[in-house]
Symmetry: C2
Subunit: 420 residues, 2 copies
Amino acid sequence: MSDQIPTEIAAEVERQHALIMRGTAYGDEGTRRVMDRELRQRLTESLMEKRPLRVYLGVDPTSPDLHIGHCVTLRKLALFQQLGHQSILLIGDFTGLVGDPSDKDSLRPMQAAEILNRNAATYREQAYKLLDPERTEVRRNSEWLGEMSFGDVVHLASNFTVQQFTGRDTFKNRIDGGQPVYVHEFMYGLMQGYDAVALKADIQLGGTDQTFNIMCGRTLQERQEQHAQIAVLTPILVGTDGKQRMSKSTGNYIGIDEPANSQYGKAMSIPDDVIVRFFDYGTNLADDEVDQIEAGLKSGALKPMDAKRHLARAIVSEWHGEEEAIAAEERWTRTFSQRSVPEDIPEAAIDFAGADQLEVSLPIFLHEIGAAASRAEAKRLVTQGAVRIDDEVVKEQAVEIRSGAVLRVGRRKWYRIVAS
Amino acid sequence: MSDQIPTEIAAEVERQHALIMRGTAYGDEGTRRVMDRELRQRLTESLMEKRPLRVYLGVDPTSPDLHIGHCVTLRKLALFQQLGHQSILLIGDFTGLVGDPSDKDSLRPMQAAEILNRNAATYREQAYKLLDPERTEVRRNSEWLGEMSFGDVVHLASNFTVQQFTGRDTFKNRIDGGQPVYVHEFMYGLMQGYDAVALKADIQLGGTDQTFNIMCGRTLQERQEQHAQIAVLTPILVGTDGKQRMSKSTGNYIGIDEPANSQYGKAMSIPDDVIVRFFDYGTNLADDEVDQIEAGLKSGALKPMDAKRHLARAIVSEWHGEEEAIAAEERWTRTFSQRSVPEDIPEAAIDFAGADQLEVSLPIFLHEIGAAASRAEAKRLVTQGAVRIDDEVVKEQAVEIRSGAVLRVGRRKWYRIVAS
């Protein structure tokens, strides 16, 4: 077939293929090789037939705040748009509407629907910071899953064996550990798989943890005599702790709607060994810029602290613009560098319960972290103006505190607030 | 509470309890004890409140021919009716309407619905030979299962763990043996479980193989704050081969609509060691009559052949009346006893593929079972009138042959036709 493909199309296939596959990650080499080959074929068909590919990303509207970890796949979705394909943002509202059956106190369906609508709108607005709203097809899977009967579910389920599910790490580990796995948990894979059929998707984007669900989609599409979608998988971005995946519940995230100072401070707090990964997947810097930074860090020509400033500025610039990035940097420098914040200050852990901010009673908190011998002493220190948060004197007893903030008590005691 | 129960009610509870529990069978003693206790309580409530119990039996209308194995539970359902309770015959049409998703050539839903309607009617008519039509509530589970959405199914499934299902023998054996179990197979248990909720059942009848499904119903009823139904379980009747369970697909069954001669011949063909079980579960004889027969067989006062005559006559009498039973017995005696059919004649196995009758080419068949040295010789034997089936000379080359028939070739060669 290749001898019939005009040179300019072959070249364009190669160009698009290289951009799409850049920075992808697959659990195993076999899957990567198959997906790579199918992608090249599908791109060729698309360009020969002048038919844009249908590319979708499914998102969970139950937690509407986007962080830069979400943006790894969203950037890919935007890329397809830039390459002239049809990008689809799929709001996975059906799962939410169905509710979590294990939660006895879950909201009634009507209320849930309102919240989901609001969340979906919030999510969409944030996603539009990367996507072109005019060219994005926004869909909800309640459109088709809400129409399905018990009989349809039986037919859907008949395409998969129990062993395929129990063999998945996520279930296998729980079963081996004697933990219950509920039957309805299998159905979420079926739902996601059917989304691909309903959307007639050519490509599904997702983190590497979505491999199984995307493969469910391929199976169902083949049963329906559709072309099986191609999985374009991206790595899961690590959180600001450098250890766990970035997520709201862990509190180790940088939200795209967070204030500039907060984003800047969080970016500065990451461990040195994940700096390059944050550049790769948390910013929109070009490859060669990141290559230079990586080389600089390796040779020692670039100090980690300077690389992080660059990173923090890049992140804030993307979401708040250059001006705010510069202001955040100046404020950070004023707080830390010029006032000589020691580089390795101790951390004071606090349970944010997944929130960004938390109101605390300062005397209790200072005493608990050992910054004052008693609550009474802590109270005095506050009243005397000896307590600063992010370089600002705090005289109130109850304050809003955020993860990443720097607390200074007296002249010598420094603490970085972190989520426990 | 027991001191408030009038004596006559307590006595009636005991009477009903004894009749209901007679001949039941439970996989484990713990289950039997719980069910026994709950049954006594529920009967007491029913009689105190003058509220008949809702008792149901679910039947599969995909195979409409009832055999005496089906009647073990149907007799119990009829008993409840005689005791003044509300008996419900549940036609499990939803499974049939959904179709067997693993069967690619399955009929289209509309056709299936027609067939199921016809089957359900046939089934009902046969069941009315034991049940009082006026007092039987006939329901179909498509009434409620057909209304359920994907979301409802998710909620239903959330009440069970995967481990509960994979721990069932039927699934465990297949999983251990490396055989696939399909996800939709789990859903049949959910459907059956939900039937109990929809029917607000007090009691569900079933063979011991239905234990798990009935317990699913209990679980779901408790979640819906209904009283959990009580399982009244009966043994599975063995087939005429004395080995496998009676079923149409194995061909080892006695159908209640089968001709009298066929029923009689099949009953006479059972192995001696299952005679008492056939009396217990395959006839409507009273307990003391069966006790006498059992004692007679043990002491040797009653010959197995005579016990089987009694059995065969009882079965034919129940389904065709006394007169036909006598006629069938006379015919059988003419064929076997008076013409001195040897008692232990060899069996000639033939694959009926689940059917009652099969057209065979007699010369080929006679040669295959070794009754003739060649097909040519077999043809000659047929032409000469040396071949008899059930004591009638057969001169056609192609004949309908039935399981249980006696074939005689020449003077000395006898064969009993059995399903392979």
